[in-house]
């Protein structure tokens, strides 16, 4: 892949803390550090995968980039322009460029709106089309995602899960965005339908020259979709690498454990190699130092004291570990 020097999306030091409130006065008694200092760059036409287990903050990163959450601190640049400082009209104009597809098509579509209204809503809100023009645009969008435009006056409940996710994708494409944030777009679907949606997304990316931020917990799906992958653990990125390199030779012990805990579909390979002990610690009270040290098989004394920064490991790879796994594997 030829990498453009200018990133489409740049995230710097993104933090999002949620307050924990308790008692009658609802005083703030603590903070859930859902995202705690994330740096990312997404390049034009690439798919950047974001993986991690539940509660690692991957969805929060997506929602902050779409500015659906107000971030606690940090900066987000889109095509060099600072998204964080925008408000009102200029924010709305910028939003056309970044759209999001949610996990559950059941709850992200209004059950009382026809498909025509749902898919056409972004166009109406931005005043881009109305009347016949809007109807034609909606028909185009539905055709693009493989649905019959004649069904546009139907309601979401008349469609299957896979079809609903196609509707969600059509709605996200209505404003011709440059970046699509895909938040677990196939997790709620059956495998036979999942492959249809994944292929559709790959086709659309080529046809419409889109960039994707693909958020998922399914490593197989992420590998299929992404050119580069960022692995998150407890609100931080622990490793970022081109997807082939990440799968062939993980540098962070967490990535290694994550990869080896995927059950292989080959019954001859019955080696659930490095399995992790214990659960993910609470993001309200993350461990000191390296957040992974409590579950890491290679942890040493310094891991509990000093927090490793995400460092350049060469060849477009970054890893946040004091003792990254060596190449001698």
């Amino acid at each position: 892949m030829t990498r453009m020097p200018e990133p489409l999306l740049e995230v710097r030091g993104l933090k999002k803390y949620f307050e924990i409130r308790k008692g009658f006065l609802m005083r703030t008694v603590g903070w859930v550090k859902a995202v705690d200092g994330v740096d990312l760059a997404g390049y034009p036409l690439e798919t950047l995968g974001l993986v991690g287990e539940s509660g690692c903050g991957k969805t929060t990163v997506g929602l902050c980039i779409a500015r659906l959450y107000e971030m606690t601190s940090g900066k987000i640049y889109f095509q060099g322009a600072d998204l964080t400082s925008l408000a009102g009209k200029r924010l709305r104009a910028m939003r056309r460029n970044i759209q999001i597809v949610f996990q559950d098509p059941q709850s992200s579509l209004d059950p009382r709106m026809t498909i025509k209204r749902s898919v056409g809503a972004p166009l109406a809100i931005h005043g881009l089309a109305k009347g016949r023009a809007l109807e034609e645009r909606v028909a185009d969008l539905l055709r693009m995602v493989g649905l019959d435009p004649q069904h546009m006056n139907r309601y979401p409940h008349e469609f299957s899960g896979g079809q609903r996710q196609r509707i969600g994708i059509a709605r996200a494409l209505a404003l011709s965005p440059k970046l699509l944030i895909l938040d677990e777009p196939t997790s709620a679907l059956d495998v036979s339908v999942q492959s249809q949606i994944l292929n559709l997304l790959r086709d659309l990316q080529q046809r419409l020259r889109l960039s994707y931020l693909f958020i998922s917990h399914d490593l197989g799906v992420v590998r299929y979709m992404s050119s580069r992958i960022a692995v998150m653990y407890l609100g931080k990125i622990v490793e970022l690498a081109p997807s082939e390199d990440l799968f062939c030779m993980p540098l962070h012990p967490y990535t290694q454990a994550l990869l080896s805990s995927i059950p292989s579909t080959n019954p001859a390979h019955r080696a659930m190699g490095v399995t992790l002990e214990g659960d993910i610690p609470s993001p309200a009270n993350p461990p000191s130092g390296c957040r992974f040290h409590t579950r890491c098989t290679y942890a040493r004394a310094e891991c509990a004291k000093f927090e490793p920064a995400l460092q350049d490991a060469g060849a477009g790879r970054y890893v946040a570990c004091h003792f990254p796994l060596s190449d001698s594997r």
Binding site: G220, S243, P263, D279
Partner: protein, 325 residues
């Protein structure tokens, strides 16, 4: 692994009578589980795998559901002929069950210890004190950190993985010979899933119990099971040993399922797809239920329901044109 059959499901039919019509959730399913064997039951949502488990346990909600035909032989006895009271004493002691959501299968207002002790006392006629000791032993066995403290906790104080350990401990506390596990790791993260699956395998082997593992994840089956049955739209389309089915899937649906999952161990080109969606259970297609989505369907497939054909030792498929190789 013994050769003796522990559970045999023959030509099971379970229907649900709804206002929309009769839902044939299970329409002629055959299964058998040998002693000490882990059988995987795979299929997409709505294919009837959970209803199969509920039918075995006699827990089909009725109305609207009813087991309309077939036989379920467990240790030689027909479970469908049992009275509700007899079934109650079998459930939990000889056949145990683990569900997908551990949080919703435990009572939120009772402590873990009370719930574990209740199960043991119900089936074993022991004192509360010795039931408590047994509960502690079981928690030890499922490698629960600090079991003593866990007994005094409420379900909401434990994580999903820990709760699933409690469920396994409870299910195995009465030494069942068959464990039904319905998507036991679906709600868990992959790293925790690996822990739970390894733990389940260990404990099962130690007790020589059999498991019917219901899942939609083929990877989980490949890693844990000895044999598999693949279900589609209320019917079992293929069954056999894990090695044989993963090496040479004979049903086009099984093959399609395997090819449409992105394999994390290698980068693939375009994913294969199975066109269309799962059929409406009220009006399933005639003949082979898979024919509207099958690439090799012919007129025969849309008219005649395929009978089981043996394609290998221990490998049976319901297809007019089974795949080769």
């Amino acid at each position: 692994m013994g050769e003796k059959l522990l559970l045999q499901v023959e030509n099971l039919h379970t229907y649900f009578y709804t206002l929309q019509g009769v839902i044939k959730a299970i329409d002629g399913v055959n299964l058998c589980v040998r002693e000490g064997e882990i059988l995987g039951l795979v299929g997409e949502s709505g294919c009837g795998k959970s209803v199969t488990a509920l039918s075995i346990l006699g827990l089909v909600p009725s109305p609207p559901g009813r087991v309309e035909g077939g036989r379920i032989l467990f240790e030689g006895e027909d479970l469908l002929a049992k009275t509700p009271a007899e079934m109650r004493s079998i459930r939990g002691s000889r056949i145990a069950m683990i569900f997908q959501e551990p949080m919703s299968s435990l009572n939120p207002v009772f402590r873990i210890g009370d719930q574990m002790i209740e199960v043991i006392k119900l089936h074993k006629k022991v004192s509360t004190g010795s039931a408590r000791i047994q509960a502690l032993e079981m928690l030890h066995e499922v490698r629960m950190p600090d079991p003593e403290a866990v007994l005094a906790k409420y379900p909401f104080q434990l994580s999903g993985g820990m709760l699933q350990r409690v469920m396994i401990a409870m299910a195995l506390s009465c030494e069942p010979s068959l464990l039904l596990a319905d998507e036991p790791t679906t709600a868990l993260d992959v790293t925790v899933q690996a822990q739970i699956l390894n733990l389940m395998k260990d404990l099962i082997r130690k007790r020589n119990a059999a498991v019917l593992l219901i899942t939609h994840a083929l990877g989980v089956v490949a890693q844990t099971c000895d044999a598999v049955s693949v279900m589609y739209a209320g019917t079992a389309v293929e069954s056999g040993s894990v090695e044989s089915i993963f090496r040479s899937p004979a049903h086009p649906y099984t093959r399609g399922l395997m090819e449409c999952i992105p394999d994390p161990s290698r980068k693939s080109g375009k994913l294969k797809i199975i066109p269309g969606t799962v059929p409406d259970p009220v009006n399933p297609p005639p003949g082979c239920r898979f024919h509207p989505r099958c690439y090799k369907a012919t007129a025969t497939c849309s008219q005649i329901r395929p009978d089981p054909v043996r394609v290998g030792p221990d490998h049976v498929v319901c297809c007019h044109y089974p795949e080769e190789g």
